[in-house]
């Protein structure tokens, strides 16, 4: 029983991370219909910036705020300089640009901070005593913080889309950019905002994840795959779906990886992806994605 709970919690912890990153992917997709393969690397880069800040004596919380700000700037610049000039319909070109960005960011971080893993401080103290007990297992404060923040960010984003004028404008622009322009919506700005939002989410995630996994240049890559799987499973236009799917993938992967010995650690990712495939065959738009219905 203890093992089950431990595995569940482990799975949820991972799931929170997947959900966070999936949320960022969905933000970009919802506003501009693109998949930003560099999302993880941008988050990682922000984490490194936060690290540099802590090295300079800045308190951890402020360093995280700096990371978020860096994310916003990065997101805005990337959209303006690399994506907008291509025109938002150039799917392959933009995919390639995000790939180039991925490679360049990864390598740049390696140059600036070296290839060795770095230790990033946690927000709350994380000694051996710093946990809360849940059903006999331990949940560290940092992990709890991550989960709470994820819920908060998700709620904020959902509220934005559903209840605000800006959210309505974003949904209009995604659904029909030309009509949006004819209604006075500045579509370019909306696109930029989508990228900035996504980068901010990533910038928040990076420094929070780093302590648990040590800060390296390749930490985000596996997470990106899981996050992409989660976004697909949940439905690419559903922020709530993406987060929920992230949690599901995290838990299932942990449970199946633990209990089904055939799987072992190598195939854990494969489990997530097979699950994804099965769900998609039944619901091609993901669990919560909206099926686009249009009368022709």
């Amino acid at each position: 029983m203890d093992l089950l709970v431990a595995r569940l919690i482990d799975g949820l912890n991972n799931g929170v991370i997947y959900g966070f990153l999936a949320l960022a992917l969905v933000c970009v997709y919802r506003s501009t219909k693109h998949l930003n393969l560099a999302q993880g690397e941008m988050a990682m880069f922000c984490a490194f910036i936060a690290y540099a800040a802590t090295q300079a004596g800045v308190p951890v919380v402020f360093a995280i705020v700096i990371a978020i700000a860096a994310g916003v700037i990065m997101g805005g610049v990337v959209e303006r300089v690399l994506v907008r000039p291509l025109g938002h319909d150039a799917d392959y070109s933009i995919l390639l640009v995000t790939i180039g960005l991925f490679l360049a960011l990864n390598a740049t971080a390696g140059i600036i901070w070296g290839g060795e893993p770095l230790a990033f401080p946690t927000v709350f103290s994380s000694g051996a005593e710093d946990y809360i007990g849940v059903l006999g297992s331990r949940v560290r404060y940092q992990q709890l913080l991550l989960a709470v923040l994820l819920a908060a960010v998700l709620a904020a984003i959902l509220a934005l889309f559903k209840y605000t004028k800006l959210g309505l404008a974003m949904r209009t622009a995604t659904s029909n950019p030309e009509s949006a322009a004819l209604l006075g919506i500045r579509v370019n700005r909306i696109n930029a905002l989508g990228w900035m939002m996504a980068a901010a989410v990533g910038g928040l995630l990076g420094p929070l994840v780093a302590p648990g996994t040590t800060l390296t240049t390749y930490m985000m890559f596996t997470f990106l795959i899981y996050a992409a799987a989660a976004a697909t499973l949940g439905g690419f236009d559903s922020p709530g779906g993406a987060v929920l799917a992230g949690l599901i993938i995290g838990v299932l992967e942990s449970l199946i990886g633990g209990y089904v010995s055939f799987v072992g650690s190598d195939l854990k990712l494969a489990v997530a992806l097979v699950l994804l495939l099965i769900v998609l065959m039944v619901r091609p738009s993901g669990l919560f994605g909206s099926r686009r219905v249009e009368r022709v």
């Binding site: 997709y29 998949l35 690399l82 000039p85 291509l86 150039a90 392959y92 070109s93 995919l95 390639l96 640009v97 790939i99 180039g100 960005l101 991925f102 490679l103 360049a104 960011l105 990864n106 390598a107 740049t108 390696g110 140059i111 290839g115 795959i225 992409a228 799987a229 976004a231 697909t232 690419f236 072992g264 190598d266 195939l267 990712l269 494969a270 992806l273 097979v274 994804l276 495939l277 998609l280 065959m281 091609p284 738009s285 993901g286």
Partner: protein, 373 residues
Amino acid sequence: MALPITVHEGTMPHRGIRLGRVALVVAVVLALPYVVAPYRLDQVTGALILAIAAVGLNLLSGFGGQISLGHAAFFGFGAYTTGILVTDHGWYPPVAFVLGMLVCFVVGVLVGVPALRLRGMYLALVTLAVGVIFPSLVRRFDSLTGGSAGLFGISFDAPDHAYFAGRAGQILWLYYVAVVALAVSCLLVWNIMRGRTGRAIVALRDNEPAAIVMGVDRTVVRTVLFGISAAIAGLAGGLFAVDTGILTPDSFSLLFTIYLLVAMVLGGRASFWGPIIGGFVIYYLPLWTGELTDGPAAGVLFGILIIVMVFTLREGVVGGLGRLGARVLVVEPRRPTPRFDLSEAPPVSADQGIEPAACQPRQETAAGAPLAD
């Protein structure tokens, strides 16, 4: 003579130019081994192998319009099938290649099945899943594949002939094998694309509902396309196995798929020469950036170069070359000959119909010019 020179399709000068191009390619291929050092020829072979894989991907993505973020898996299936058959069971490599292609065809068709139901991003991610799972599978079944430690000793020995003596001869042999494989793949793709099937593929890509209504069998076309594309990638994989001699799961990661995608887009999608040029680009670019700078800086340079090329070569290298070429030479397409001579038809007025007898069908001229160039 003023540029651009205009040449009419089907005329002698046009045929001369086309023949000249083919002759040039053949000449370059045959002359290369005598002009470059063996280690450079070895590099060319590596690039050719990538080109074959890119040709396969281009068939599916460029012509067929289906995104595949997991083509490394097909490449890997071909490589490992060949590797296992050659080292553990002593098969003759070309036969192993064929079996590898068959395995990949089947896997490709299986992957193509979800493609029938899924669209866009969702399909992209399923293919991504396939690509990511493959190295894990290799590691898991390590008794068969050698796992992370790798599979060794795969080779395709040159025939016992003075021409192929020694190390240089082995390189030469593999070069020719690669050239032949590339030619076969290109011929296969060209053959598919220039007939009815090719038109069906493009129709399905550009306007699926219309294509279906006109009788294109979506299921067959989409899955078989996946299969063939996978088989070609599998051939490349088999060649890769005998060329490098060692296989490890890390060679077939997402990064490799990314390389293939970049090769296809930068070379020029939905063209015949595009993926070949792309294969060479993607082989040499990391090599050069690695020579220019060390370590991670090479990665930065590579990433930046990709971005720059996307911006400057919107239609790939092929598109850019095409535009340059158009300044020198323009091929005027042959005008289709009308079947009926309307010059003698009476004018149509509101209360009469057209009188069929008044229109004279023209003599049928010789069959029209071939579609693909």
